[in-house]
Amino acid sequence: MNLVPLFVAIPLGMAFLIPLLGRWWKTSGEVLATGGTALLGIMSIMSIGAPAVVHHMGGWAPPVGIAMVSDGLSVLLLIAINVVGFLAVLFSLKYMKAYTGLPKYYSLFMLMVAGMNGVVLSGDLFNLFVFLEIASIASYALVAFGTDADELEAGFKYLILGSVASVMILFAVGTVYAVTGSLNMADVAREISLRFGREMNPALLLAAAMFMMGFSLKAALVPFHAWLPDAHPSAPAPISAMLSGVVIKSLGVYAMCRVFFHVFGFSPDLPGSLIIANGMIAFSVLSIVVGGLLAIGQWDFKRLLAYSSIGQIGYVTLGLGVGARVLATGGMRSLAALAILGGLFHLINHAAFKSLLFLSSGAIQHATGTRDMKQLGGVREKMPITGATTNLAALSIAGVPPFSGFWSKLVILVATLQAGHYAVGGIAIAMAFVTLAYYVKVQREVIFGGIKSAVEKAREVPAVMYVPLVVLAVVCVGFGLLYPVVGYRILEPARDALLNGAEYIKLVLG
């Protein structure tokens, strides 16, 4: 039984059926979206530990046909996307009652999930671009779903910058095709390693730069981050959780990893790969610093979380970039493995706690009617469950032991220092304390403190809203304490997939 194409087919089918049935069956969106995402979540958890699968679409073998590849890295992202997606739909059931046009909302949501699943399973460069566009268009429309002035403006900004990113990625895909004459990732990787092993090809370097820029725009690394602090707070809370939790990772970080680690490859033989790795580290450090410093001054709860996302994505790409640089300079493979493991671990942790924080902000807004931290305070006493889960997530993301965020940041910092980047490591450590500072601010202003007027009438949200919060909080604690049991089986295959680019070529081309 081959599950790989179903990951794309199920949500696409749902996205088609929901608005069709919505005319006669009012709750079609709720029922089909919950069922579909639950099924996808179970399927993604079932695929842990499964051997890597290559599915040939339509029976055409690569390099002619389009392959769908599910290896360790894809499985890691599939789990994040589908589990967070299911919890976000659960949260939407109650939260989105205030909006109109719900069948359209669920249809767009399923399109977004379909696009992201397609991106992480695609084995073909142009196919990756098409799925990326599916997910992007759905997310543009979802950011502006409320059609207020702010939401439209944020959506328009996101749309313009996202379109620029798409144009850059398409340009890069065309350039790669012009140079290598193939679009299948494994085939392109083989061509590059065979034909350009010892010399610098300027066209390929241009393509790499364009990919870097496009994926950095999608991942919101500084200096390409201008759309994120507007788009993420303006969207409805479940969509904010999806955007910050998985969209920027699957469309940005994952695509960057796949293209640079597997297609271009990092090795001492390829002179261009050192430039790419240095670029990754530079953007990461900028993101960590700018995201952290701008988060401190925010008084809008969701905007603070959005700036925090920029900083944390910087940590993820820092781990991956350090690993890439060690590979490119021909250093110790075990050190590269450690750095990449840290980056991936932080990626999945960030998916858990940032989704949790955005869903919590939605719950607090639902109960109190405001996001302004100056008007909030004492949420813990009026809403005990939401307060406790928000507190756990804040501790985890601030890097307090023994929660998951501490371990992943520790691994990244240890690897960075061992690789000899003392300045970068120092900056990252300093900014980890800044992260702690602004999450202490969140705790002081929102969770603890005296009860302000806005919170007076607040009551605990209904069960369908707090169940996702509790599940994600359990994940936050569980990843921190039970890493040898849980994380090991998800993260190790993903790390090995990134380390051995040659294995990927063998896997796809046979």
Binding site: F126, V130, E133, I137, Y140, A141, A144, T147, D148, A149, D150, L152, E153, A154, G155, F156, K157, L159, I160, S163, V164, S166, V167, L170, F171, V173, G174, Y177, A178, L183, P229, D230, S234, G297, Q298
Partner: protein
């Protein structure tokens, strides 16, 4: 030569996007950039004196050499359709923004800062 035209179109689109304040003109800039990239991909598969890549019985070997590359054409078709979808969304958002603000001027619209 045609590559140079692609570059000119790309820079025109980017200039339009960055320098103009009217959001409709920004949208046009995006469209021009999109078409610059489409033209570029078409040029990649172009051959002077090429023929359409249709295999018929009794073809000589010499004709096979002169086939243009069909794959970029398929890519550009897909890319044009995607561009159309994005364009429809952009224009509809411009209309909604005009309803809210009564102007197409981005500097008057933008309130989100910091």
């Amino acid at each position: 030569m045609v590559y140079f035209l692609c570059l000119v179109l790309m820079t025109m689109g980017l200039y339009c996007l960055v320098a103009k304040k009217n959001i409709v003109k920004k949208v046009l800039g995006i469209v021009i950039m999109d078409y610059a990239v489409n033209l570029y991909i078409i040029v990649v598969g172009y051959k002077t004196g090429g023929v359409a890549p249709v295999v018929e019985p009794g073809m000589s070997e010499g004709v096979l050499e002169r086939f243009v590359d069909p794959l970029p054409q398929a890519l550009v078709l897909t890319s044009i359709v995607i561009g159309l979808g994005v364009l429809a969304l952009m224009v509809s958002m411009c209309v909604r923004l005009y309803e809210k603000h009564g102007t197409f001027d981005m500097s008057a619209i933008s309130k989100l800062r910091g």
